[in-house]
Amino acid sequence: MPIKLFKGPRAARQIVAALAASVLLSVGSAYADPHAGGTLNLVSQPEPPSLMHGLVTHVSTQYVSGKVLQGLLTFDTNLKPQPVLAKSWSASPDGLTYTFELQDGVRWHDGQPFTADDVVFSFQTFYPETDVRLAGIFKEFGVSVDSPKPLEVVFHLKKPFAPLLYSLGNGLRPIAPKHLYAGTDFRTNPYNLKPIGTGPFVFKEWKRGSYIKLVKNPDYWKKGLPYLDEIVFHVIPDASSRAAAFERNDVQVLRSGDADYSDLQRLSALPGVVASEKGYELYAGLAFLQINVRKPPLDNVKIRQAILYALNRQFIIDNIFFGAGKVGQGPFSSSTPFHDPKLPQYTFDLAKAKALIAESGVDVSKTRIRLLNGEKGGAWERLAEYTKQSLQGLGFKVDVVTSDAATWVQRVSNWDFDLTYNFIFQIGDPYLTNSYLYRTDTIVKTSPFANVSGYQNPVADALWDKVANTPDGPARTQAYSELENVLNTDLPLAPIFEMSFPTLYHSQVKNLLQTATSLNESYDNVYLDTPAP
C-alpha cells in the first residue's frame, strides 16, 4: 500500500479508517471466487483522438484500446517480460536472433484467425511506416522479421540491440490485424476508430463527448475470461465532476490526473476507497526542468548546476504536488535498473548555488530568462512561480511566460524558450525514450520530446551507442553508469522529481494493479467483488 502521498498523522488515521472500512465491506459482501459479470465504469480524460494505440501513443488511447488490442509481451512490476500474444521467446547468445512462439487458438474479433503473418506485417510493414523512431532503430540495427512456422516469429538483427524486448510491449506496439490494415492508409483506416483486436473486450460503441463502450469477448483465447461483461469509459472533462462521479461510485477508478492533486487526500479517505501508486513501473515518469543550453547564461554548466542546487525539490513535492513523487535522483528513474544508485546528488544548497555562480564569473542579472509555462494544470503553474522566486533569490531575472498547450508544443519544438518544465515516461530502457532528449542526432525542430536543449557531447553520444549495442550485463550497466554521470554533470535537463501516479479505486474492483502498465492492461482478470451500482 502506498503512501507517501498522504502525509501527516490525521491523514494516516483517515487512510487506516478507510482501509478498515473497505476490508469490512468486502468481508461482508465479497464473492468467494472471482465473480463474472458486471460493468466497470472508468473515466476517459481527455477523450482519445483514436482507438489504435499503435498509431497514437496518447495515454487516453492506450487506456481504452489496451483492452481490445494486444501486443506480444507485457512487463511485471520488476520490468520482466511476461507473455501476452507471445507464449514464449528466446534470444540467441550473440543477441542477433529473437524467436517468439505465439499463442494457439487466438482469433480477431471479426472471427479471422490470428497468425504469425499479423506479427510480421506489424513489424515489417505497419510500424516501419507509422513509427519513425522504431523505423530508425530497425534501420540502424538491421532488423528484419519473418515467420518460419504459422505460430513462430523470428526477429533477425545485424547488430545487437539490447532494448528490443521493451519495444515490443503491449503498451506501445499492439499487433495490427493484417487483413484489415494491409494495403490501406494506416493513419486514416476506419478501424482506428472501431478497433478489431484479439483482446478480452470487443469495441461496441463510441458516442463522442459521452462514452466509449466495450463488451465482453465471448471467444477470448484465455478460457473462462474475462470476468466483466462491459467496460464503459465516461468522458467527463471537469476534475471536480470526475471527483463527484467517483464519490457516488458512478465511476469506480480514478487514474492519476483524473482528480486534482489537492483533492486526492479527501477522496482517498472515503469509505471503501483504495489508493495505490503501483502499476506505473514501466512508465517511470520523470519531471525535469528543460534548459536551453544555447542561451547565455544557461550555456554555462556551473549556472545549470547552480539552478538545480537552488531548487528545494522536496519542498516542491510536498507543497506543490501534495507528496506525489520523490526527488529526482538523476537523468534516469531510480525505479528502473538502469539508474546508478551512487550518482552524486544535487541536494538543496543555496550557499553552494551562490558559490557556483561566483565561480562561473557570470553576472546572472544581466540577461532575462524566459521560463515557458505550458498548460499542464495548476500545480505546474505554481512550480513555475516557485522556480521564478527561487532563481530571483540568486540574482536571476526571470519572466514566467504562460501559454496554452498547443503554443507550448510549438515554441518548445522550435527551441523558443530558455527554461521550461516537461516530463517523460521512461518506458523501461532509457535508450528508447530518454536518449532522444540528449543525443546530438536528435537536435531537430519537430517535437518537444527531441533534444530541444541543444545539448551536444560526443562522449555522451558514444556512450548512448554503447548501451544500445551491448547486451544486458555488467558491461552495459557500467556504460549506463558512465553515461548517467556525464549527463548528471552537464545537466541540459535538471531532474526535479520522479512522478508517482496515485490510482484511487473502489475496493469492489479486484486485480486492477498487477503489472508495470496496469491501468492500460487488458483487464481480462479484473472483476467486481460486488456489483457496481
Binding site: P49, V132, R208, V232, S241, A244, A406, V444
Partner: protein, 329 residues
C-alpha cells in the same frame, strides 16, 4: 416599409455578418500560435519533419493564407465545412452529432429562464405596492442568482443533488448501459438535463425578472394605462393586454441577445456536467488547433446567434408594427 422588403434587408444584413464572422474567425484562428500538425505528430510520438510536412500538405496549411481563405469560403459556399484530421471525420458529422445536445440544453434553459423570469417579474411588479415583501424577495433572490458564478453554482448543485441527496445523476446526458425506451428514456434524459438546465438558466432568470419588473412598472405609469382604466377595462385585461404587451418589447430584444450568450454559457456548463454538446467540441477543437472543426463550430454558433437576432427583430416588429416601418419617429 413593406414587410417583405424589411425581411429581405434583414436577411441581407445577416448574410453579411456571417461572411464577416467567417473571414475574421479564419484570420484570428490562424494568427494564434500553435500548429495542429505538431500536436498530432506529438500524440503519435513522431518527430519526423517529413511526416509533419505531409500533414501540413494534407491539411492545406502549406499554401499561402489568402489562398487557404478563398478555398475555405468556396467550400462553405458549397456547404462543405471540411474534414477534421484529428477526429478522422467530417466537420458536419461531428457538429451534427453534438448540436442536438446543445440545442436541447440551450432551448430548455431559454424556455425556463424566459417564462419563469417574465412570470416572476410580473408578480414582482404587481406586488410592489400591495405586497412589498414579495417584490423584495423576488428581486433580492434574483440579485443573488445573478451574482453567483454559474460554474460554481453548477458544482454546488452536483454536490447537493447528486452526491449528498443522490436524487439526480451527476454527469452526462443519459444512463449508459441501460436499454431504456419510451417514457423511461424520456425521464432519464429529463433527470440528466435538470441540473445543467437550472445552472444555465439562473443567470438569465435573474435578468428576465429585473427587466420585466422594470418594464412593467414603467408601462404601468403610462397615459394609455390610465385611459384604459378610465374606460373601465378589467384590471387583468389592462395588465396582460396592454401593460405586458408593451413591457415585453425590451424583454424580447434581450431574449435575442441572450441566445447568443447562452451558446457561450453552455460551454462552461457542458464541461462541468460532461454534457456532450458543441461547446465542448469547440473547447477541444481550440486546444487541439483543429482549424476546420473550430471554424465549423464558430460558423454554427454565428448562424444561431444571427438567426435568433433576426427572429427577435421580426417578433419585435410583430409586437410593435412601427418598428422598421419608418413610423416610429
Amino acid at each position: 416599409m413593406n414587410g417583405l422588403i424589411y425581411l429581405g434587408l434583414r436577411l441581407g444584413r445577416a448574410a453579411a455578418v456571417i461572411v464577416g464572422v467567417l473571414v475574421l474567425s479564419f484570420l484570428l484562428v490562424r494568427m494564434a500560435p500553435g500548429d495542429p500538425a505538431l500536436l498530432m505528430a506529438g500524440e503519435a510520438g513522431i518527430d519526423d519533419a517529413q511526416y509533419i510536412a505531409r500533414l501540413h500538405h494534407d491539411m492545406g496549411l502549406d499554401r499561402p493564407l489568402p489562398a487557404q481563405l478563398l478555398t475555405y469560403l468556396n467550400q462553405v459556399a458549397h456547404l462543405d465545412l471540411g474534414y477534421s484530421y484529428r477526429n478522422q471525420a467530417t466537420v458536419w458529422s461531428l457538429i451534427a452529432e453534438r448540436l442536438p445536445a446543445t440545442l436541447l440544453l440551450m432551448g430548455s434553459a431559454f424556455v425556463l429562464s424566459s417564462v419563469l423570469g417574465v412570470a416572476l417579474g410580473v408578480i414582482a411588479a404587481r406586488s410592489q405596492r400591495r405586497h412589498g415583501w414579495l417584490d423584495k424577495l423576488i428581486s433580492q433572490g434574483a440579485l443573488l442568482l445573478y451574482a453567483t458564478p454559474s460554474f460554481w453554482l453548477a458544482l454546488l448543485l452536483i454536490l447537493l443533488f447528486s452526491v449528498v441527496l443522490d436524487w439526480l445523476p451527476a454527469f452526462g446526458m443519459e444512463t449508459v448501459g441501460q436499454d431504456l425506451h419510451g417514457w423511461a428514456r424520456l425521464t432519464d434524459y429529463a433527470a440528466h438535463l435538470l441540473l445543467p438546465c437550472l445552472s444555465l438558466s439562473f443567470l438569465f432568470l435573474a435578468l428576465y425578472i429585473h427587466l420585466t419588473r422594470a418594464a412593467m412598472l414603467e408601462a404601468m405609469g403610462q397615459e394609455y394605462v390610465k385611459t384604459a382604466r378610465a374606460k373601465g377595462l378589467k384590471p387583468s385585461r389592462i395588465l396582460y393586454g396592454h401593460v405586458l404587451r408593451n413591457a415585453l418589447l425590451p424583454v424580447v430584444t434581450f431574449a435575442g441577445l441572450q441566445l447568443g450568450q447562452l451558446a457561450s454559457g453552455a460551454l462552461l456548463i457542458e464541461v462541468v456536467y460532461a454534457w456532450p454538446g458543441i461547446g465542448r467540441l469547440l473547447y477541444d477543437a481550440l486546444s487541439e488547433r483543429d482549424y476546420a472543426l473550430l471554424l465549423g463550430v464558430f460558423l454554427v454558433i454565428s448562424l444561431l446567434v444571427v438567426g435568433f437576432n433576426l427572429l427577435t427583430d421580426l417578433i419585435c416588429r410583430w409586437l410593435d408594427p412601427r418598428i422598421g416601418s419608418g413610423r416610429q419617429h
